[in-house]
């Protein structure tokens, strides 16, 4: 019998940009149903709609008499409150009380049992949850979900932070719940896990259901092909590979933090080197490490054809060496929103003693023209501009610096179509001017239409390099998932 039946579901956060389109889906009692798809396919939105975190625009959701509270979601992002104890985190919605005061003894006793279910029976439930590692925090969240009287459990990338033995325990729990008739929706990038514990798998792409298979009857290659889609990208950037390859920057065995592991590549002048991969694959962290924004724990960076060694200690070192970073989150890391367009534009290039208001304004207007920046006055606050124009301000900052090596992190995210075109035009100009460009994007169609070469990162490593002649959506998507396979060997 079905636990949930969905018919014709429609959802969009922004009018005109659908996240779920004509979506049909069903999950049965006692079934482990996998949901797979690339970034932005709509998996997390579906999970949020099922639990009532966000409403659907239209369509039918039949929960077969179940209350929304019987559908429990373990989010990909951790929701631990670090200052509370482990026990309090597990029972945050149902703390046992006596005379209006939390009954700590009963709470800890119950928590001890809940922890046992996820293999943490030796953990003291009265410790603050913040003292645990990420993997154990994830297990606490799972323990908390298991304690709830759920008939549908949604696990969104539950093994992202877990090691081999912890994954095994999770699977044991999943199987036990399955026997009790609980329906489990298992969202994951990891094909090997899906093959092991799931009954059926549904592939999503661009908000649609592409196919549903019995896991036992489908090959991974077919799933990857379905996730990638068959549309053929239309190249707009003419490949200029006839030119002599002059190195702009070469990175060898770069490591840093938890997300960058032994990354090596060369980027050439007059080339756009695209970096594809899933969210969390370490692409942003790689750019930040190269730019000196995060510490580097190993490896080398060399600049230019002369291969001059470069050890960035801070972004000011890299700016001095003509590097530029257009960050992923422009509001957090790029812009001074209350300050003027001029102040934002000249922020990196201005190195004299006194401000030159007239000169700065002129420079802002001139670079603004190159990007078709739309504004009322250069003295206007940047916060007043639209997302696309804000992004142009960040980019024009680096044009003013006459940077040579550009690191773009999701430059067209949240940017309207017209602004996208201006940014693409500018990229062409930079290529023409023989600049080195490294561009991270989660939009594969975009990457395939503007890059001269594409690297794929997966789980902190480079797992593929493609030239226009050899690339395909399937091959790139397969490489993006490659780093997450055989995890047990790497974890052991």
């Amino acid at each position: 019998m079905n636990a949930i039946t969905i018919q014709n579901l429609q959802k969009s956060y922004v009018p005109g940009v659908p996240v779920l389109k004509d979506f049909d889906f069903e999950i049965a009692e006692g079934e482990v149903h996998a949901l797979v798809g690339s970034n932005g396919a709509g998996k997390s939105t579906l999970a949020k709609i099922l639990t009532g975190l966000t409403p659907a625009n239209s369509g039918n959701i039949d929960r077969h008499g179940r209350d929304e509270s019987a559908i429990v979601l373990v989010l990909q992002e951790l929701n631990i409150i670090p200052t509370l104890t482990i026990a309090e985190n597990i029972y945050i919605n149902a703390l046992p009380r006596r005379f209006g005061v939390i009954n700590q003894a009963s709470l800890n006793h119950k928590a001890k049992q809940a922890l046992g279910r996820v293999g943490l029976k030796n953990l003291d439930p009265s410790l603050p949850a913040g003292s645990l590692g990420v993997g154990q925090q994830q297990l606490i969240e799972i323990a908390s979900a298991l304690e709830k009287e759920s008939s549908v459990l949604i696990l969104d990338e539950p093994t992202a932070a877990l090691t081999g033995p912890e994954i095994e325990l999770l699977f044991d729990n999943v199987r036990a719940l399955q026997k009790q008739g609980v329906a489990i929706l298992y969202i994951s990038h990891r094909m090997d896990e899906i093959a092991r514990i799931c009954d059926r798998v549904t592939v999503m792409r661009d908000g649609r259901r592409i196919a549903t298979h019995q896991v036992s009857e489908v090959e991974t290659t077919q799933l990857v092909a379905e996730m990638a889609g068959s549309e053929i990208s239309s190249r707009t950037a003419a490949p200029s590979q006839q030119k002599e390859k002059i190195t702009g920057i070469s990175v060898s065995n770069l490591s840093g933090g938890e997300k960058v592991k032994n990354v090596s590549f060369d980027a050439y002048r007059g080339e756009i080197l695209g970096i594809a991969g899933l969210i969390g694959a370490g692409r942003t962290e790689t750019l930040r490490a190269i730019f000196g924004a995060d510490p580097i724990s190993g490896g080398e960076i060399r600049l230019g054809p002369e291969q001059i060694p470069f050890h960035p200690k801070s972004p000011s070192d890299s700016v001095a060496k003509k590097l530029a970073l257009v960050p992923e989150d422009r509001k957090q890391d790029g812009l001074l929103l209350p300050l003027s367009i001029t102040a934002n534009t000249v922020l990196a290039s201005n190195r004299s003693l006194l401000l030159d208001d007239a000169g700065d304004r002129n420079a802002t207007v001139t670079t603004g023209e190159r990007l078709a920046l739309k504004y009322d006055s250069p003295d206007q606050a940047v916060g007043d501009l639209s997302g696309g124009n804000q992004q142009k301000v960040v980019i024009s900052r680096w044009l003013l610096c006459e940077s040579d090596i550009y690191l773009f992190d999701e430059p067209t995210r949240g940017v309207d179509v017209a602004a996208k075109e201006s940014i693409y035009t500018l990229l062409d100009e930079l290529v023409e001017a023989n600049k080195t460009i490294i561009l991270v994007s989660s939009d594969l169609t975009e990457l395939m239409s503007i890059s001269h070469r594409i690297l794929v990162m997966s789980n902190g490593r480079i797992t593929g390099e493609f030239e226009p002649e050899t690339w395909s959506r399937e091959a790139i998507t397969a490489a993006a998932f490659a780093g997450y396979e055989n995890r047990k060997e790497t974890a052991a």
Binding site: D333, L337, P338, L354, L355, G383
Partner: protein, 325 residues
């Protein structure tokens, strides 16, 4: 600077100050006498100097609670060097300024390099400086008599003391640095979004440390004028001074969240606070009334400021909605 900027930026504070003067002038016959005004003029310089530094610190989203007790320490040291050590006044003055700079350097290095909130670090140095003042003064008041008279007595031609001129010059220089130099622009930028400034390749560490050092130095300089006015110094003379300074700066519209502030408005904030104080005393208000009213003025000033910010945000949202359509 054009007229429009002057009107929107400084005129409101100036008008409030003038209203206060006229109000107390009409309530008390003696208020507009030269004695009251020169009392205010005497109190202005030390507070203004400290407020110049405090404004810069608040702009980079820090705070300095130690200024009052650092000022007391510097003043005590200064008086000791003159009376017990027989040091010449200029040399003793330099020593006091240097001592203030050292405290500022400690505040800046510890809070910026070790990422300890400046609130905590300067709370610590507040106690340290106070303790050291007790130590060197042996808990006594050190008097210097009339040796420093010429620092605070009115100059023959201008009719105002040299201390006042120094304070005024520093306000003007400071405002120039803040609004006309790259360094000043970077301070505002750091207070607005430090992460973005760092990622634009701007060195932030030394700039943040520097505002604490400048504040320490200015507290040292202020201590000289303070000692000159009192004819001596003791460990207690800075009690509550940091709060007056923060109040004056906040009344002047500087944001505690960083990114916004003006030295000229801080100067006007000092005038308002001291005029209020002297005016209330002049009309015979009880001590408790003075405190209550000053407190209300501080809250009112910040409320007005918050409302101004909210209004700006609302307009911004409206504007963005219109753009999306």
């Amino acid at each position: 600077m054009n007229m429009k900027r002057f009107l929107t930026d400084y005129a409101p504070m100036f008008i409030i100050w003038v209203i206060l003067i006229l109000l107390f002038g009409s309530l008390s016959d003696n208020f507009l006498s030269s004695r009251t005004l020169s009392t205010i003029a005497g109190q202005v310089p030390p507070l203004v100097l400290v407020c110049c530094g405090m404004t810069l610190i608040l702009i980079v989203a820090g705070i300095d609670l130690s200024v009052g007790s650092v000022l007391a320490f510097c003043a005590t040291l200064f008086c000791l060097l003159i009376s017990k050590g027989n040091w010449p006044v200029p040399i003793a003055g330099l020593a006091a300024i240097a001592a203030g700079g050292v405290f500022g350097l400690i505040n800046g290095l510890v809070s910026v390099c070790f990422k300890v909130p400046s609130f905590i670090v300067t709370l610590g140095t507040l106690k340290i400086a106070f303790g050291l003042s007790l130590l060197i003064s042996r808990s006594e008041t050190i008097t210097v008599g009339m040796k420093l008279e010429n620092l605070i007595s009115p100059l023959p031609v201008l009719g105002i003391p040299i201390s006042f001129i120094v304070a005024l010059c520093l306000v003007v220089i400071g405002q120039f640095i803040l609004s006309k130099t790259i360094y000043g622009r970077h301070l505002i930028a750091i207070g607005t979004n430090e992460s973005a400034v760092r990622l634009a390749g701007v060195a932030t560490t030394w700039k943040k440390v520097s505002v604490f050092v400048v504040t320490g130095i200015l507290a040292g300089l202020a201590s000289i004028f303070f000692a000159a006015r009192l004819g001596g110094a003791n460990a207690d003379l800075g009690n509550g001074f940091e709060l007056s300074a923060i109040a004056a700066v906040v009344i002047g519209g500087t944001s505690l969240m960083g990114g916004r502030g003006s030295l000229i408005n801080s100067f006007l904030g000092v005038l308002i606070i001291l005029t209020l104080d002297a005016g209330l005393a002049q009309v015979g208000a009880d001590e408790w009334v003075k405190h209550v009213i000053t407190g209300m003025v501080i809250i009112l000033a910040v409320l007005l400021d918050v409302m101004r910010g909210e209004m700006g945000n609302r307009l911004l949202q409206k504007y963005q909605q219109l753009r999306q359509k």
